[in-house]
Symmetry: C2
Subunit: 330 residues, 2 copies
Amino acid sequence: MSAGGPDEFEIIAKYFSWPSARSDVVLGIGDDAALLTVPAGRQLVAAMDTLVEGIHFPAGTAARDIGYRALAVNLSDIAAMGADPAWTLLSLSLPRSDDSWLEGFAAGFHELAVQSGVALVGGDTVRGPLVISVQILGHVATDGALTRSGARPGDAIYVSGIPGEAAAGLAVIQQRLAGSPATRFLRQRFLRPEPRVALGQSVRMVASAAMDVSDGLLADLGKLCAASGCSARIDLERLPASAAMRSLFAASACERFALAGGDDYELLLTVAPGRESEFHRRLAGETACTRIGEVVAVAGAGDTVQCCREGRPVSVEAAGFDHFAPGTSA
Amino acid sequence: MSAGGPDEFEIIAKYFSWPSARSDVVLGIGDDAALLTVPAGRQLVAAMDTLVEGIHFPAGTAARDIGYRALAVNLSDIAAMGADPAWTLLSLSLPRSDDSWLEGFAAGFHELAVQSGVALVGGDTVRGPLVISVQILGHVATDGALTRSGARPGDAIYVSGIPGEAAAGLAVIQQRLAGSPATRFLRQRFLRPEPRVALGQSVRMVASAAMDVSDGLLADLGKLCAASGCSARIDLERLPASAAMRSLFAASACERFALAGGDDYELLLTVAPGRESEFHRRLAGETACTRIGEVVAVAGAGDTVQCCREGRPVSVEAAGFDHFAPGTSA
């Protein structure tokens, strides 16, 4: 971990130096760079995601939740590749050295690092506006990664968990809805996304394509389709229902949350017709996945992702989706 | 490269998608993560450095120089390990999408990426204050990396290039000194640090320890000593002289720049007595290195790094070094 001055050294030593059980960390924090051993027969998987206050989480979010979230959104990228997470680097730009904030942030980050078996091996802390960048590194069997580009017409489209609950949780926070089991549940769904690492690993050999949902189901499915050179049909009545969401919001709002709300960090998966039974076998014990539609051939003009209700195409743009910008700032 | 919305996709496609000749990039920008091949028998080297306007470069610095610098300071960490740079991920937090700024930034980043053979394989762009995080990945022969911890009493201490010129260049910029060949030269030394990648590779098997100088020679040598469990003596009269620096600044200021100014991104190297002739053989054709002192045993109380003038210990703190905070904000 390179240092911007004595302060930084103290911050790193005090808050970010915890023992790791990983024997593949030859050299961790403290030198100019980390030295790591990638196992033979594995490809390196690398991603980087940045969080800015007011854009990726509301101002006032607890430091512990920010720390957790910063690692979670990166682990979600590893999950989408079906890979094994291994190491992380953290760059923290902070207006001032605030002990209780740093303690909380480090605790949240550490909590998920331990849970996911990831070692913090480097990065830096600098003085500046609150911006958090996390680099995640992992590995996967050579040529065995899930990608966005493998979907083919006829493949079933699945989504894990219940998309929309995170966006509903953000609405709970922003609208300061009164505390109840439902609001507390949804708040947690926003504040503590669960990266679907185990799910990605389980279905790696069976799914034809995968992607994590960070910018909203429709927007992200559109990207998967673009990468795969195909289109998609979503059957709106198949979207998994959330009791907590339904108890607080109108059905139309729930549908909007599910289709356009980001931050779910669930996985979108496509599965070829002949592999669906194996797919379901591999799901045993994992996060439930719901079949929400089908990959179709590109049909000239029109939306890449076509929404249908009871078999009839509907225009979701006309229902107000244009007002929902992708991302957590929605 | 994960996306924060359609804007980000456009930005990435427009400014940051250039072809790379690296065959070890299995999957670059455009999926949830990059897929990379680390050659057999090599360890992965990973570092991350963040740049904040006003802290790591003066406000008003040309976007092209910022782009170059963001990659340069990271390559310098790879150089300090004696490793081969390979891949980079870039996270750009930007207040607004400014075409000419993005064009300039991308051009500077691209310029050095091509020059150093590094492929940009991922990252993200987000809306936020101007903060640039770069992740650099490389590799090195297993157990062959240079580290900070190998210095032993009796080893010679070398520094590459002319430390202090970057700090003098920053002073030229901040004091708005009139244009002249000397001011232009020093400005470039600050704006365009040259990561000593080839030098690190050349001396990897010969040097006992290495570190790049980002926070000032004395501060960084102190960290190398701490990692190696030893102390150091610097002979001030051996510091390499810079004609440009001398033409603009008093001798005492030049010494301060050399000892306490950061941003040089030169390499500090230690060499065991029996390896010095081989060290010099390997230097042929590389950046000149100057022997500036010696590693000594820890001698109880006192500074880790002792400065001497004509053989006599001098206190550089007394000469005003306390007023120089490490880092580019000095």
